[in-house]
Symmetry: C2
Subunit: 353 residues, 2 copies
Amino acid sequence: MNLKELAHHLNLSQTTVSRALNGYPEVKKTTRLRVEAAAREFNYTPNARAKGLATGRSMSIGHVIPTSAKREMVNPVFGDFITGASEAYVQAGYDLVLTLVEDGKEERLYRNIRDKGNVDGIIVHSPRMQDSRIALLSDLGLPFVVHGRASDITADYSWVDMNSRRAFSRATAFLIELGHRRIALVNGLEFMDFAFRRRDGYLSALAAQAITPDPALMRAGEMTELLGHQSARDMLDLADPPTAFLTSSMVTAIGVRRAIQEAGLEMGRDVSVITHDDELSYLKNGQDVPLFTATRSSVRAAGRRAADMLLQMIADKDCGPLHSLLEAELILGNSTGPAPAADIKTPYRQERT
Amino acid sequence: MNLKELAHHLNLSQTTVSRALNGYPEVKKTTRLRVEAAAREFNYTPNARAKGLATGRSMSIGHVIPTSAKREMVNPVFGDFITGASEAYVQAGYDLVLTLVEDGKEERLYRNIRDKGNVDGIIVHSPRMQDSRIALLSDLGLPFVVHGRASDITADYSWVDMNSRRAFSRATAFLIELGHRRIALVNGLEFMDFAFRRRDGYLSALAAQAITPDPALMRAGEMTELLGHQSARDMLDLADPPTAFLTSSMVTAIGVRRAIQEAGLEMGRDVSVITHDDELSYLKNGQDVPLFTATRSSVRAAGRRAADMLLQMIADKDCGPLHSLLEAELILGNSTGPAPAADIKTPYRQERT
DNA sequence: GACTCATCTCAAAGCGCTTTGGACATTTGC
DNA sequence: GCAAATGTCCAAAGCGCTTTGAGATGAGTC
């Protein structure tokens, strides 16, 4: 059933039916009700392509996620982010179109996306520190929101991000307060902006207590279980091993825990661990008492926020770049405790904020 | 730059330009080259909505994934599946549109999707044992491929699935061969078809050796780390605890491992574990020697396969329902070993296939 | 009764593309 | 040499919708 048929059936013009359905005022109330009833009865749904062609809007949002042939990992965070964003899209009647793109082929792709015209806006995932996509998209004139930021970019653009620096600096300060001095960082790939910020937070907290960072205690890589395991195993083997670990993801933390156990140590007593917890739906951090002490920020909420922002920008072209900085909570779990006796030095008491 | 402008610029009609670009034969070679050069020069990309309207095809595929307000978990397998499917779509010039739908609202949604006309086909995720979506989609006349099967549906439809029953029956048989008799199953939700099949495989292997299944050793739930942990903890507490676990996902297996360690036991020596490994990109099962003995089947490959099938069905309406059954490998890792001495009974030797 | 307003409705243009049904020129077949 | 076939191009219709500009209709005003 299309508009023409529906109109004919109702003995009305397409114009009137269209207006009735789209809430225009110049339609008599009784007519409108009659039209709506018929539309329901015949299960009429306007053809999206035709509607899009006529209105110039596609009612869908593009999510572009980068992949690379080498590190061919799909960020596990993605599913939850999408779930959050979807809530907003469903409410607003938007669709979500997903595009995976190999590193490097991005310029052509974004241009294509714009010219094809099948999305009204874009969500950019996984920004690097300097990310050419941002300038490109600004040029293209397609509304976009970045999930994360790009530290090296000075131009203004819209983003939603977690305060990674603050979260990791708080976590580090907390470990220091517990008496830890040898604190290891198992980070994500540090050309990714979020990972860079996390390290920055970690270093700043060390510096605040005049602790010299030890390169041997810093590792970065794809945030897999293996990375956590290997890093922790190697570090625990050092002559002067760490008494605490800070990791960038739950999966990595699980690897760290494995290495700790294999070393015959107990997490939370012999070695402390703090991880970042994205609140992924399939990786809950314990139930009553969290398994891991963690900096926690829901990536699903971030997705929701980003989508809301983008929709707002589409509705109001001039609302200018929007920003949203989400603060992570520091939640206490069973994986942290005072530094083992041998290592305890009275820490400078520090106000936690 | 649109077709009209491009045509005008070239002093040609839209017809000719369109034909030149779409490879129709009735265009002189030199004209075609001239057109192609200009298209490249001006970065011409046809508008997808207009093209879709004219051709009646949208050049995109819908992925519909069910969520429920209650168990609001996004299947972590999803990211990898999509990655596989994307490979096919990119090659064929298709887009992927993603829709999350709450349980129950599906009928209306699928009908809408068809009438909106913004996808040419659908991939159905996470089928239940009896799944109304399949009959519905058949009625709607929209090509679709199911990732998984629905045991209670007799009608023919297209699917890609892993041979869950065989995989779990082999895994169970292998454990029996190692001397295990008390074998626990920590499964996914059993109204999900794949989980049902896995239990079926498990039970059949037990039955083949005349081992009576013990309800106390069977658990099902969302495949989280917590499920694995709680199930294993409870079971290891039994008077007659299991000596081996079969779990439906890596994440769950990690929870089982945790419980084993907390019980002061060693995985692979005191207690054996076999898990199913979807080869998720962020959850590699060890490196040289796998951490877990596992039934392994790449969900990414399944995605690729499903997408290829769907594209074929779209290209050739009459190619009829297609099926693809993927066999899982049984790979040996460090998590299995002979049943502890006390429990060893000489097993009937069984041919593994 | 002639006038203006509202109110309601419609025909038709247009969104950017494909595709049908020729038109015209050039070859080919006999 | 002429009809038929072929090669190359175009004008125009149509995909299903929205939206413009204007035409009816009836109520209110002088």
